[in-house]
């Protein structure tokens, strides 16, 4: 089990290294006029040159990358070229909003999709048909379109929720709830149906297994068979879907946050990439990839716990 975890962490680190390398070199193309952009049109060529050397842009790309890696390894991601705010600090003020949004949505999707998926698999009939149809419709509507519809109807027209988030440092719980309710609903609706559909097929697949019949023949009750045996074996499929949705949402919230004016990572990502703020972009990408790697690791661990065969190999 320990080697299994270490292996996963190791491959995660390799992915992290590959992605930071790729991103850094991609951003090289955008940093040609950066000093001029920072200083504005009226800066003298001398000022621009001074800024370039201050940012280290006069050095070759490999040297710059080596410096960045050296600092990053000590936890120093540098400061934003435009705001001079330390990257880590900007990220840490934005991250909680994004994580609150994504994690809440995923948890709600996990619970609801399990309930709905199991009900559809066991009862079949009309519940099943509704779930299947809803899954198609849910897939068909992009979540940001749904979010735009929500914000237009419930926030702007009806005024049930604030159209602009009131989350700021030190905001109370009420502000968080009011600001996150609509975006969470939008994310949950668009993710729920396909997750429920996956749970449904996984449960049906398990119910058809021979061991279920044998458990019945041993006098084990239907409830125990369903919740102790079937659901456990069906869980890895559900977890995989949830982890993919989580990754998708980390990207998707960029748009959602913009629609609801939430001060999360999304706004930071848009702003930093538009300006070509290399340290900040690197920070956003790395934090996102680290979160993805952690989530994948957790899913692998959960699968290992659920399925003893995985644990061995």
């Amino acid at each position: 089990m320990v080697t299994f975890i270490l292996k996963r962490i190791g491959s995660g680190l390799v992915v992290l290294a590959a992605i930071s390398c790729l991103t850094f070199f991609l951003l090289y193309f955008s940093s040609t006029n950066i000093a001029r952009n920072i200083l504005g049109e009226y800066a003298t060529p001398e000022q621009v040159a001074a800024k370039q050397s201050e940012l280290g842009l006069d050095q070759p790309i490999l040297t710059r990358f080596a410096t960045w890696v050296g600092n990053a390894l000590t936890g120093d991601f540098g400061t934003s070229w435009f705001t001079n705010e330390p990257v880590v600090q900007s990220l840490l003020t934005r991250l909680p909003v994004t994580l609150a949004l994504v994690v809440t949505s995923i948890l709600i999707i996990a619970v609801l999709s399990t309930l709905i998926g199991v009900a559809a698999a066991v009862k079949r009939g009309w519940i099943d048909r509704v779930v299947q149809t809803a899954a198609v419709i849910g897939d068909a509507i992009p979540n940001f379109v749904l979010a735009i519809v929500f914000v237009t109807i419930f926030a702007i027209q009806l005024g049930f929720f604030p159209a602009t988030s009131s989350i700021q440092p030190g905001a109370d719980a009420g502000a968080w709830v009011a600001s996150l309710t609509l975006p969470v609903i939008a994310l949950v609706i668009s993710g729920l149906t396909s997750a429920a559909q996956q749970v449904r097929s996984a449960v049906i697949k398990q119910l058809e297994k021979d061991y279920v019949r044998t458990l019945r023949s041993r006098g084990i009750s239907e409830g125990v068979i369903l919740f102790k045996h079937v659901l456990r074996s069906a869980a890895p499929a559900g977890l995989t879907v949830l982890s993919l949705q989580f990754i998708g949402m980390l990207g998707g919230v960029v748009i959602i946050e913009q629609i609801f004016a939430l001060p999360g990572m999304g706004a930071l990502a848009v702003q930093s990439t538009t300006l070509g703020d290399t340290p900040l972009v690197m920070g956003v990408v790395l934090y996102t990839v680290i979160i993805v790697i952690i989530v994948n690791l957790l899913v692998d661990l959960a699968n290992g716990w659920l399925n003893p065969k995985v644990r061995v190999s």
Binding site: L26, V136, V145, S233, T274
Partner: protein, 603 residues
């Protein structure tokens, strides 16, 4: 060699037209095809349809409502919304196609090569795929935009690369599954080059899933691209739905309909693509379903939740028959067909089993012998219907005459406790997620109401009773850690754990090695003698019958053709089918005389 290829090709064409017809039968499919056709036509003829140019601005008339000149009003720069919507269709659809094309161009060949040759290319490609799949798409696209500017085309090429793993995985899996098919081997042996094999045989397998995937990818591409443009990151000089959406959102307080039209267009386009993908999938699955029902497989098993709706007292059984442990009378079982009728799989079957007696039910596969056995256990699939007849256990009906399903209320009191079951395939009948011990302990705790510690003690004793050398080790092992023979012993231990009166064994040795078969049969015989339990042994093997059974009934095509004492049936079979079955034994198995003498010692 060319002949079979020809046939394959022609059936594929046939299937394709059928699939297309089926898509058009599905109302959602028609809707999707219609919407997409209209959009494509609009995109192609945009220059003729749109009254204004995509960026033709009338500064004097901004944010106006709909009128006869501007059918859907104008935006904040005075540009005609309708014209922009029409030109937007062009850019949006083309960019989605570009994205899909890039993804296919990368994913398909990579998947073909990785799946066909495997080896180092496969591992390398898989690593890249894992990296790509770990990337949150939008963040990457933002970075690409920062590097290369706000071009729709560049971001769609990048997104095509990001999304290519979908095609890669799909193709790789499909290719791996057919690579070792006989017809591919045949093609290889007959000297076709790898390239020919891939294009001719393998490509036909992946075609359908790729069409489905492409519909979905185009939908995702449109939605991602619109999302990016909505963020204000699109190219402002090109009219796309996303740019319009962004413009509309900025003016949502002043002119809400500006938001409505592009949102509707995006929703319709993405929705139709997803619906189309689903319709193709359904059409393909329908085709599979037809072939399945032709093969007449039993329908899928869903959880039986009809947990004894009526627990009313069962009617009294016929006087004089209560002495039988099991009495099956004129039983018929059927499954509903598509046309609403019931197709019988068991017809007018009657037999009895007494305490301590071993009855064999013999027949070839599809003869209804397992269905009969499962009806006694009450574990028929939920679709199954009792068409006539009755089943009684120990003087009480479990299926009364006139009932059309097995009464789960009455059977759940018997199952596991008085009637138990030994399955055919040992490995698939243990839950891989739990230790063998816990799977033995749980039924005893539930059924006998004893403590866990007590149940564990009994389980260890049972394991040693069924001939397992190191019971403690097996108790703690997971099913995948033991051999098939050992797993079957575990299942037998489970079957006798609650001291049943009747054991139903469904081909208990078929899945085992020949040497293990004999041991397991010995074990069942010993236990049966020692515990004095009644056994119904379902088998296709007369050798097993001769070895274990007192009496035997022979089934063919759902009917009983013959029944009686084992010695009589083996010695002087009356029915031609029984004779055929016995003759087929003689050719491959041990000589008959030995079987008879063995049968003589057990009866």
């Amino acid at each position: 060699m060319s002949e079979p290829v020809e046939i394959k090709a022609s059936t594929a064409t046939l299937a394709r037209t059928n699939v297309f017809k089926r898509i058009l039968k599905n109302p959602l499919g028609i809707f999707a095809v219609a919407v997409l056709t209209i959009m494509v036509l609009v995109a192609i003829f945009a220059g003729w349809i749109a009254p204004f140019g995509e960026n033709a601005a009338n500064i004097g008339k901004t944010l106006s409502g709909a009128d006869s000149v501007n059918l859907l009003g104008t935006d904040s720069a005075g540009r005609d919304t309708f014209s922009r919507l029409v030109y937007g269709a062009q850019t949006t659809l083309l960019s989605a196609l570009l994205c899909a094309a890039v993804a296919i161009a990368i994913g398909l060949p990579a998947g073909l090569i990785a799946g066909y040759y495997s080896g180092p290319f496969d591992s390398a490609a898989n690593w890249v795929v894992n990296v790509l799949m770990a990337l949150p798409g939008i963040i990457v696209l933002l970075t690409i935009r920062a590097a290369f500017g706000p071009s729709v085309w560049i971001s769609m090429i990048a997104f095509g690369i990001l999304i290519s793993p979908g095609y890669f995985r799909l193709t790789r899996t499909a290719v791996q599954s057919v690579r070792n098919e006989l017809y591919v081997d045949a093609a290889r042996v007959s000297g076709l080059s790898d390239a020919r094999i891939i294009t001719r045989h393998i490509f036909s397998v992946v075609r359908a899933p790729i069409i489905i995937q492409t519909a979905i990818v185009c939908g995702v591409a449109i939605s991602i691209q619109s999302g990016l443009e909505f963020l204000g990151l699109g190219d402002p000089t090109v009219a796309t739905w996303g740019v319009m959406l962004s413009e509309g959102f900025k003016n949502v307080y002043l002119a809400p309909t500006l938001l409505l039209w592009p949102a509707l267009a995006i929703g319709l386009a993405v929705g139709s693509l997803v619906l189309l993908g689903n319709a193709v999938r359904d059409a393909l699955e329908d085709r599979e379903k037809v072939t399945v029902s032709k093969r007449n497989d039993p329908p899928t098993v869903a959880l039986q939740m009809q947990r004894g709706p009526r627990k009313k007292k069962a009617a009294n059984v016929e006087v004089g028959t209560e002495k039988h442990l099991v009495k099956v009378s004129h039983l018929a079982i059927g499954y509903p067909q598509a046309n609403g009728t019931l197709k019988p799989v068991v017809n007018d079957v009657s037999f009895t089993v007494d305490r301590g007696e071993v009855l064999g039910i013999v027949g070839e596969s599809g003869s209804g012998k397992s269905q009969t056995a499962f009806s006694i256990l009450g574990l028929l699939p939920p679709e199954a219907r009792i068409m006539s007849g009755s089943i009684q256990f120990d003087g009480e009906y479990t299926v009364e005459p006139g009932e059309d399903t097995v009464n789960q209320g009455r059977l759940s009191a018997l199952r596991g406790k008085r009637i138990s079951y030994i399955p055919q395939e040992p490995m698939s009948n243990l839950d891989p997620a739990y230790t063998i011990g816990s799977q033995l302990v749980a039924p005893m705790v539930t059924v006998l109401g004893i403590s866990k510690a007590e149940a564990k003690k009994r389980a260890l004793k049972l394991l040693s009773d069924v001939g397992i050398v190191d019971p403690a080790r097996t108790f703690g092992a997971y099913p995948h850690e033991v051999s098939g023979g050992m797993a079957q012993r575990v299942l037998i231990a489970g079957a006798i754990s609650c001291e049943p009166d009747l054991i139903i064994a469904d081909e208990p040795t078929t899945a085992l090695d020949v040497t293990v078969q004999a041991e397991v049969l010995d074990l069942i015989r010993d236990l049966q003698k020692r515990l004095g339990v009644g056994v119904i042994l379902v088998t296709h093997n007369f050798g097993v019958v001769a070895d274990l059974c007192d009496r035997v009934v022979v089934m063919q095509a759902g009917r009983l053709v013959e029944g009686g004492q084992v010695r009589e049936i083996l010695g002087a079979p009356q029915d031609p089918y029984t004779i055929t079955l016995l003759d087929s034994m003689l050719e491959n198995k041990k000589p008959m005389t030995m079987l008879v003498s063995q049968g003589g010692t057990t009866s």
